[in-house]
């Protein structure tokens, strides 16, 4: 039991995802690389990471293209709200954090997503310092 806990604590990506999924209304969270490959996933949503990952990346690419035309840098985050769902795509170092929540979640979720993105950034910086800008 102690060994399992220690392993979980060492996996910083998983810790960031767990931190998000424990928040009220959060259904699933995933970390993707810039090619859309799944680095980490947590949750039990019906959409599943297989569909959710590439479509999130596609949305981000389309939005980045628009921002480039507007003379802006790439999107730091994109939040899409529907009547009953809330999807956040957040850049975190060279990775992308995607969070799907229901309408039960409140605006404080944005703070938690920001903290989780910082945890991912810090971990990438510590573990792969040469790959971070």
């Amino acid at each position: 039991m102690l060994t399992v806990k220690a392993e979980k604590k060492d996996n910083k990506f998983q810790a960031a995802l767990d931190y998000l999924v424990e928040y009220r209304g959060v259904r699933e969270a995933a970390i993707l690389d810039r090619d859309g490959l799944l680095v980490g996933y947590c949750g039990a949503g019906f959409s599943g990471a297989e569909a959710f990952a590439p479509l999130s990346l596609l949305m981000l690419h389309n939005i980045d293209a628009v921002l480039e035309r507007l003379g802006e840098n790439k999107a730091g985050s994109v939040v899409v709200k529907t009547v009953d769902s809330w999807l956040t795509i957040q850049a975190a170092a060279n990775l992308i954090l995607v969070v799907r929540a229901s309408s039960e979640a409140d605006d404080l979720l944005r703070v938690r997503i920001g903290r989780a993105a910082d945890m991912i950034r810090l971990h990438v910086q510590e573990k792969y310092p040469l790959q971070v800008d």
Binding site: I63, L67, L70, A75, G76, V79, T82, V83, S85
Partner: protein, 277 residues
């Protein structure tokens, strides 16, 4: 339509000073119009109607009262006072434009379109006419219901009409909120219907790009069975882009990066609750 409240307050003070010095002055019409622009419709109406009693041949005063009734949502009275303005002062371009606006509110888009086409041909550079014509053309192609009669409750003093903002007014109010750089209303096809934008990019291009982004996000989320997109917030280094789904239109708001999103959201909710377009 940029609303500069300081400028309006200054105008009210000046007009009031002139009227105080000479109560028989026709400046009352300008004073009533300033109150109308400020959103104080009851006061505008009171000043306008009282002025008309003293100056029954002053056409501009009828126009101001007609515009005030239009802003109050009382289209029947707006039409009546417009006709009086035409009787007294003759038909002018302003009267034609106001009639087109009233017809649009009464959902008589075909008649409004005919009037606006005539105005557009004689003044193709007017953005106001161009925007109204685009709206009339869009609406006249969609077969909207015939005009609804004005209920007595809407004009009864015991039941003052609910304050409503049309598209132009809504955009004007959002534009003056702190750190808002621009507001554009675009159709799903990317055609700009109305907008005020300070950026270097032409607003038509912003409209096309924003609607493209909105549509691509909607396509993606429909594949995830998320339902229709309600709003999309994009945060970049120097600015934020907030897009709201309003039926046939997408309202695109561009802000500085240091905008207070919570405060802006509260204000937008309030403004959108009064919006009717």
């Amino acid at each position: 339509m940029k609303i500069d409240f300081d400028e309006i307050n200054e105008r009210i003070a000046k007009c009031q000073k002139i009227l105080d010095a000479d109560p028989s002055s026709q400046i009352f019409a300008a004073l009533a119009d300033a109150y109308r622009k400020k959103g104080e419709l009851e006061k505008a109406l009171q000043i306008g109607l009282k002025g008309i009693e003293d100056h029954p041949d002053y056409g501009s005063a009828y126009m101001v009262v007609a515009k005030t009734y239009l802003d109050m949502g009382n289209y029947g009275e707006a039409e009546r006072y417009l006709h009086k303005a035409v009787e007294v002062g003759g038909r002018t371009r302003s009267a034609d434009l106001l009639e087109a606006e009233i017809l649009m509110k009464q959902e008589q888009f075909g008649r409004a379109k005919t009037l606006l086409e005539r105005l557009h041909n004689s003044d193709p550079k007017s953005e106001t006419i161009k925007n109204l014509l685009t709206k009339a053309m869009l609406q006249s192609n969609t077969g909207i219901e015939p005009p609804k009669p004005i209920s007595s409750a809407a004009v009864s003093p015991e039941h003052p009409p609910r304050k409503t903002y049309d598209l132009s007014h809504t955009i004007g109010i959002i534009k003056i909120l702190p750190r808002v750089l621009g507001v554009v209303a675009v159709t799903r096809e990317g055609m700009v219907v109305e907008g005020q934008f300070d950026g270097l990019l032409p607003r038509d291009e912003l409209g096309a790009l924003a609607s493209g982004a909105f549509n691509s996000v909607e396509q993606a989320i429909s594949k995830l069975h998320f339902g229709a997109g309600h709003e999309i917030l994009i945060e970049a280094d120097q600015s934020k882009l907030w897009m709201f789904n309003r039926g046939r239109l997408i309202i695109v708001i561009s802000t500085r990066d240091d905008v207070n999103l919570g405060s802006l959201k509260l204000k937008l909710n309030e403004i959108f609750s009064h919006a009717e377009f």
